[in-house]
């Protein structure tokens, strides 16, 4: 599903945020990406949805090599991925329903299909009863659930999340993790960068640890691995 071969990413300012990363993530896997801050986790994530291009090496998503992907083909890559962020990235002027529907409207999905899919995913994240509310009227956890709903509304094969629980209290974080697990059991591949030791140590999954732009550990069912 996701393959990286010897990927190097050097930013224009000279920082090497990925220094020879090779990895293979299969369809249906759940992968944590851990590491100290500045290690290159976000860069690793950004390389997958082609927010950043590798300086060298190949990134292959669902058979598509992103190194040779033309700019105008990027939108079609993005439609196969769902992306979730720490800061939710919801549109404040749109209500819950509109925020989720937005992802389908801009890819010109049929209106009937939009209604059906939006209600389905809102049900999945447990916010069907709040469709008319605006982001400002919701808690952080609820906002993150909407952003997850938006990321999966077009049925992507992969959901990529960059510290999705970073802004949430522990209890809410568990609720969010339950949703990700649910999505994963339905067959969607999940790649999640996280700082949350408790979660990684409790919900055991594959753990990829990055330091200084290199993968230093890659263990199935591993623990968070950083003390103190």
């Amino acid at each position: 599903m996701i393959q990286m071969n010897n990927v190097v990413k050097k930013y224009p300012n000279g920082v090497v945020a990925a220094n020879g990363i090779s990895v293979d993530i299969k369809q249906g896997e759940f992968v944590y990406v851990v590491g100290p801050s500045g290690a290159g986790k976000s860069t690793f994530i950004k390389l997958m949805y082609r927010e950043e291009k590798p300086t060298s090496g190949d990134v292959i998503i669902a058979g598509t090599n992103l190194s040779t992907l033309k700019n105008r083909q990027v939108p079609f890559l993005r439609r196969q991925l769902g992306v979730v962020f720490q800061d939710f990235k919801l549109l404040p002027r749109l209500n819950v329903y509109e925020n989720v529907a937005f992802a389908l409207e801009v890819i010109e999905e049929h209106p009937k299909m939009i209604r059906k899919r939006v209600m389905e995913v809102l049900e999945l994240v447990g916010l069907k009863h709040k469709v008319r509310m605006f982001p400002s009227e919701l808690s952080g956890g609820e906002q993150q659930r909407i952003s997850i709903a938006r990321s999966i509304v077009n049925m992507p094969k992969v959901v990529i999340a960059d510290e999705p629980t970073g802004n949430l209290d522990p209890e809410t974080s568990w609720e969010i993790m339950n949703i990700f697990e649910e999505i994963n059991t339905r067959g969607t591949t999940i790649v999640m960068a996280t700082h949350n030791r408790e979660i990684v140590n409790t919900i055991r999954k594959r753990v990829i640890a990055i330091e200084g732009g290199m993968i230093v550990r890659d263990v199935f069912g591993g623990d968070y691995g950083y003390e103190g």
Binding site: P75, K89, F102, A103, V106, I107, E108, P111, R150
Partner: protein, 298 residues
């Protein structure tokens, strides 16, 4: 692109028009001023052109007669020529002027210095021909040229050169002025669109994240630019039409039978209105293109 999508783009473009109110107003005003000038200028130029044309045509034809030494034969040839010219349709009158009369005219104009030519007059006998309609002058002249014993046929000399050079100067000044205004208007529109783009930064980011195509992101901004252009062309179209309509109706009746005539209302007003509208849309679309290219890095 689906109909639904086009609808969405139009909706979005209208939304942001109302959202950044005073920038919208400033751009529309700039387009309005520009197009108003374009309209007025075009109408004035069209009328001046017509005046120049009319003057050029409303002139006598001067026919220089071939010199024949034998006096009898010369007289006969001149008579034939006069009667032949009179037979040409569209000729109103033919006036004969001998070379002595011609010299007197020259002396009147340029002074006694020329009187020494009275001994051996280098001029020719001349016929002055006037056409019934100014527009026929050129045609009549052409026909006269084909007749026997004409040495040279000239008309319209020197009378319109001054007008033409005035016309040229004012055209150039006008074009420079309009070009300057055109760029100001385009600049203001591209600024308005830039503000729209900045105001929608988050929205654009999310659109790109969920896989909207580049054209899907861009089109609403281009449509917004087009609106600015169209809205800016309304006042110029109305003002130019109403003003010229009234000027025409007041002035034209007083020019009955005169040489100077205004350009008719139709098709002039249609042409000028189309010009204003097309130019407005062009300014708007171009202005927003510049912004979209520069500030929408997609």
């Amino acid at each position: 692109m689906r109909g639904r999508t086009i609808q969405r783009h139009f909706r979005e473009s209208l939304k942001s028009l109302t959202r950044n109110g005073w920038m919208t107003f400033a751009s529309i005003s700039a387009v309005t001023v520009t197009l108003l000038l374009v309209g007025v200028f075009t109408i004035i130029m069209m009328n001046l052109n017509k005046v120049a044309d009319d003057i050029e045509n409303d002139v006598e034809i001067k026919v220089l007669i071939e010199i024949i030494d034998d006096k009898e034969k010369a007289k006969a040839a001149e008579d034939t020529l006069i009667s032949d010219i009179k037979k040409i349709s569209g000729v109103e009158e033919v006036v004969y002027s001998s070379k002595e009369q011609e010299l007197d005219l020259l002396i009147e104009d340029f002074g006694d210095d020329l009187s020494l030519f009275e001994q051996s007059n280098p001029l020719r006998n001349v016929l002055y021909v006037k056409a019934k309609e100014p527009q026929q002058t050129a045609k009549v002249a052409e026909k006269i040229e084909k007749l026997d014993n004409t040495y040279q046929v000239v008309y319209g000399e020197g009378k319109v050169e001054k007008l033409f050079s005035f016309l040229n100067t004012s055209r150039n000044v006008g074009l420079v002025l309009i070009l300057g205004l055109l760029f100001t208007a385009i600049f203001l529109i591209s600024n308005t669109i830039r503000i729209t783009i900045i105001a929608r930064k988050e929205e654009i980011e999310i659109m790109k994240l969920v896989g909207a195509t580049n054209s899907f992101v861009r089109i609403p901004f281009v449509i917004e630019g087009m609106w600015l252009g169209i809205l800016g062309s309304i006042i110029p179209m109305v003002v130019v039409s109403v003003v010229y309509y009234n000027v025409y109706n007041i002035v034209q009746p007083r020019l009955q039978g005169e040489l100077l005539q205004l350009v008719d209302l139709t098709p002039l007003l249609y042409q000028v209105n189309v010009l204003i509208l097309v130019l407005g849309m062009f300014i708007g679309i171009w202005g927003s293109f510049m912004s979209v290219r520069r500030f929408l890095k997609i």
